[in-house]
């Protein structure tokens, strides 16, 4: 694990993308297949589950460090990350301890839950005593969860491509879908082209749009662009190959069984066909609010009632494979034409349909269409260059999301909690409330939106104005008002406030505004009614 721990330290220390890719490429080029497979797994953000609970580790840390529980907790609250706290409070002496490769460490970690408690505890304590700082820290990261080392999947792909002198998009495609950290998978991943044909249910890597940050007319001639609605659903690929159907989410999880009506309808698609689109709760040619779709996401085998209450449809906007041939390099207009042909045969046009394009010869028409977005139940427009290929990952320039301006509200900060990663000893996770009569009711949690200087200033304010502490959470004096933006709002029985907001984030710290002037719950409830 020495090499992997050194890689982790190097990734953690460097801020330049180029250095990170070079460090990973050097590691992958030299690592044994069994170790490289696990390294990739962890770098991709995956974790070993249920190895040792946080409470157990904290108790053991008390034993290992000789400090009482309260001082361990105080240290943890200051550092904000349990793995790092353990690393800082323990001292390992690696003299004479033989190197154990990463895959063997994984096996040792997975064995932990099967051991008698005393044996398990002793083993963890011994590891802390015999591993040097770098290795001990990585071990603690694996014990407590994911590495959180902050490398984008795209960079990992790039590094593997560099190490094995293969095209990056081939690596990306082999990684799409399910991937097991075994030496065999690693061999397939890094092999030459020939072994690709046995992956009949695997999706293509998704092409992601960037947010449009300039005025749309700056993109040039309007007619070079194709506009369509930006749906607020689940991005997915629908795969029809052989006699089977597979549904993959953008998170590259299989969704099979959750949306039986789509799978059934997909059987009518021609074989060797892959569609990219959005799963939406859908009725009478219109999307239903997102929270209805949410009810379906968690249901593995939905019953008759949820099928009628929240019917779904697959709204296709791209075609990646047709007649069993990869069509991603074709221009978008051509892929759209093939999509039309593929859908001609679909049995149920209420369940699988093409996403309509918005005809426009000038930007004025599109600007006006975007204003209508919320009434259409969509988030805005997508702008796609008509001659663009279907690429991999998020590449600026060809696909843009052009969202409508968000809803906003003014809310009062009532709770704060320390963040993770680089914000781990700052209070950066906030809970906001609005007035219901004379009481404040929590309505949103938000993390992002303040700059580092504001975060630091608010952190100091929180520490100086804490009312109570509940574990890692502090309640603060209800004095600070923030303007929050959010994408949608709906009534909810699961929230105390009776409303649920989507994607809340901080727009501004309203230091000019007294808490009494924050929004009322009533206002939010009527917003929810209006957008239902």
């Amino acid at each position: 694990m020495k090499a992997f721990a050194a890689l982790y330290a190097e990734l953690d220390a460097s801020t330049a993308t180029r250095d990170k890719v070079a460090a990973m490429a050097a590691y992958f080029a030299h690592a044994a297949a069994a170790d490289a497979a696990w390294a990739l797994w962890f770098l991709a953000g995956e974790r070993l589950k249920r190895i040792a609970g946080s409470a157990l580790l904290r108790e053991l840390l008390g034993r290992a460090s000789g400090y009482p529980a309260w001082l361990v907790e105080e240290s943890y609250a200051h550092v904000g990350d349990l793995a790092e706290t353990i690393t800082l409070l323990t001292h390992g002496d690696p003299q004479g301890v033989p190197e154990r490769p990463l895959h063997a460490w994984v096996a040792a970690l997975r064995e932990l839950p099967t051991l008698a408690p005393e044996v398990r505890d002793q083993r963890i304590l011994d590891w802390w005593k015999t591993l040097g700082d770098e290795q001990r820290h990585v071990l603690n990261k694996l014990l407590t969860g994911s590495l959180r080392v902050g490398v984008a999947q795209r960079l990992v792909v790039l590094a593997i491509a560099q190490a094995f002198d293969l095209p990056a998009d081939r690596i990306a495609q082999r990684l799409a879908g399910s991937w097991e950290p075994t030496p065999d998978s690693w061999a397939r991943l890094t092999a030459d082209a020939a072994t690709d044909d046995d992956r009949s249910d695997q999706p293509y890597p998704f092409f992601l749009a960037s947010a449009l940050e300039q005025p749309a007319p700056a993109l040039g001639t309007c007619t070079a662009w194709l506009a369509e609605w930006k749906w607020d659903g689940i991005r997915a690929q629908l795969i029809r190959r052989g006699d089977a159907v597979a549904v993959w989410s953008r998170g590259e999880e299989r969704l099979d069984g959750r949306f039986p009506e789509i799978e059934r309808a997909a059987l009518a698609l021609p074989g060797g066909c892959v569609l990219d689109g959005e799963i939406l709760a859908w009725r009478d040619g219109r999307p239903l609010p997102f929270n209805l779709l949410q009810k379906r996401i968690g249901r593995l085998r939905p019953g008759a009632r949820s099928l009628t209450e929240a019917p779904v449809a697959f709204v296709a906007y791209d075609l990646l494979e047709f007649d069993g041939i990869d069509r991603r390099a074709l221009p978008l207009d051509e892929r759209k034409r093939l999509l039309g042909i593929a859908l001609q045969d679909a049995a149920n046009p209420n369940v699988i349909l093409a996403s309509p394009t918005i005809d426009a010869d000038d930007w004025q028409t599109l600007i006006a269409a975007r204003e209508q977005a919320r009434m259409q139940g969509v988030e805005g427009l997508m702008l796609k260059r008509r001659d663009s290929a279907y690429q991999t990952g998020r590449r600026r320039g060809d696909w843009y999301k052009w969202k409508v301006s968000p809803f906003t509200l003014d809310a009062v900060l009532i709770y704060a909690q320390a963040g993770h990663g680089r914000r781990s000893n700052l209070y950066t996770d906030y809970t906001f409330a609005v007035w219901d009569g004379a009481t404040l009711v929590p309505v949103a949690k938000a993390y992002s939106g303040l700059d580092d200087a504001e975060i630091a200033r608010l952190d100091r304010w929180i520490r100086a104005h804490t009312r109570e502490r509940f574990g890692p959470v502090r309640s603060v004096e209800p004095l600070q008002v923030f303007e929050l933006a959010f994408e949608g709002i709906a009534r909810s029985t699961r929230h105390k406030s009776g409303v649920a907001v989507r994607f809340p984030r901080i727009l501004r710290w309203r230091e000019d505004k007294p808490a009494a002037e924050a929004d009322r719950l009533q206002t939010l409830q009527s917003m929810a009614s209006a957008s239902a």
Partner: protein, 336 residues
């Protein structure tokens, strides 16, 4: 009956009534004993000062050339009112002192800022037996333990070499008084190449040279020719220079920060520097605990820092301790 406090907290600072003097007062007073030259400890405006002979140059730099200062040798006792007062090495920066006050058979010691790790720029910390210890507690959590300065210096040199190999400037942010000179002195023990200084450091480095501290040869950035290429050069700058137009001349620079706060990753990452070097001029947790135990004091009063955890821990160890609320910031008090 509890003994009366020899040193107490007054609105203007720590005050010794029996000797009628203040220690590091934050408002002007008639007589001020100063522990060291950092700006939150040495404030101008008082009528008369007492400080160490080795720190005299720095005190004049801070308090003005005309400030009235009595310079004392380490260990030399003087009579102030009914008390006997002496200054002893604190190991924090050049000329830094602990204040020992003796009165009616009682000894109180105010540590000021201190560290127990070796430092080539100043006299080593002296352990003073006492009845009551008023101590700093800037890094009073067990996660703060310092690696040896030698190891950290090797890390700095490795980073500098890497920058040289990549042909980019290496900008190392650190406090202008104390840390900068300590780094230059530690580096001088291992390499012989020049380093460049931000203007805020030039005079302070010169004061250390005047005091006979051996450091790397230095040159002011401002005296370099316009358009000079700093590729591969080490530049020391105070944290306040970060993000200023002054930084523009160091294109593609790799940046680093040297401070005790760099021990915790969250602080390291938040600053967004390429490297964080764990180097502090304050006592780490083991040193704070050891000093409390070894000085034999019956009572420990802790100022600035994580006093709560430190006080609670000492009490669990059977040592009487309490926090003493002072507005000392210290140059390292805020992790932001």
């Amino acid at each position: 009956m509890p003994e009366p406090a020899l040193i107490e907290l007054r609105p203007e600072g720590l005050y010794c009534a029996a000797g009628d003097f203040h220690i590091d007062p934050w408002r002007p007073v008639p007589r001020a004993v100063i522990t060291h030259g950092h700006s939150d400890h040495a404030r101008s405006g008082s009528a008369h000062y007492f400080g160490t002979r080795s720190g005299l140059g720095l005190l004049h730099a801070r308090l003005g050339a005309n400030a009235s200062i009595d310079a004392l040798d380490y260990g030399a006792q003087i009579a102030l009112g009914a008390t006997r007062v002496s200054l002893h090495p604190a190991g924090h920066i050049l000329g830094s002192a602990q204040v020992r006050v003796e009165h009616a058979g009682q000894v109180w010691v105010v540590t000021g800022d201190y560290k127990r790790d070796p430092d080539p720029t100043c006299a080593p910390f002296e352990l003073l037996p006492c009845d009551t210890l008023i101590t700093e507690a800037t890094f009073a959590l067990p996660v703060y333990t310092w690696p040896g300065a030698e190891q950290v210096t090797r890390e700095v040199i490795a980073w500098w070499d890497l920058c040289a190999a990549r042909r980019v400037p290496a900008v190392l942010f650190c406090y202008a008084l104390g840390k900068a000179q300590r780094l230059l002195a530690e580096l001088a023990l291992r390499v012989d190449r020049p380093a460049y200084l931000h203007g805020a450091m030039v005079e302070l480095v010169q004061r250390y040279r005047d005091a006979g501290v051996a450091m790397l040869h230095t040159e002011a950035v401002s005296e370099s020719a316009k358009g000079r290429d700093f590729a591969g050069a080490l530049i020391l700058a105070p944290p306040s220079a970060e993000g200023t137009p002054w930084m523009r001349r160091f294109r593609d620079a790799s940046t680093a920060f040297a401070s005790g706060w760099m021990r915790v990753r969250g602080n390291r990452r938040r600053r967004g520097h390429d490297r964080g070097f764990v180097l502090s001029d304050h006592a780490d947790w083991p040193a704070l605990v050891a000093t409390a135990r070894e000085c034999g004091a019956r009572r420990i009063l802790a100022t600035h820092g994580n006093t709560d955890a430190y006080v609670a821990w000492l009490r669990e160890q059977g040592i009487d301790a309490a926090p003493l609320r002072t507005p000392f910031g210290s140059e390292e008090s805020a992790p932001a």
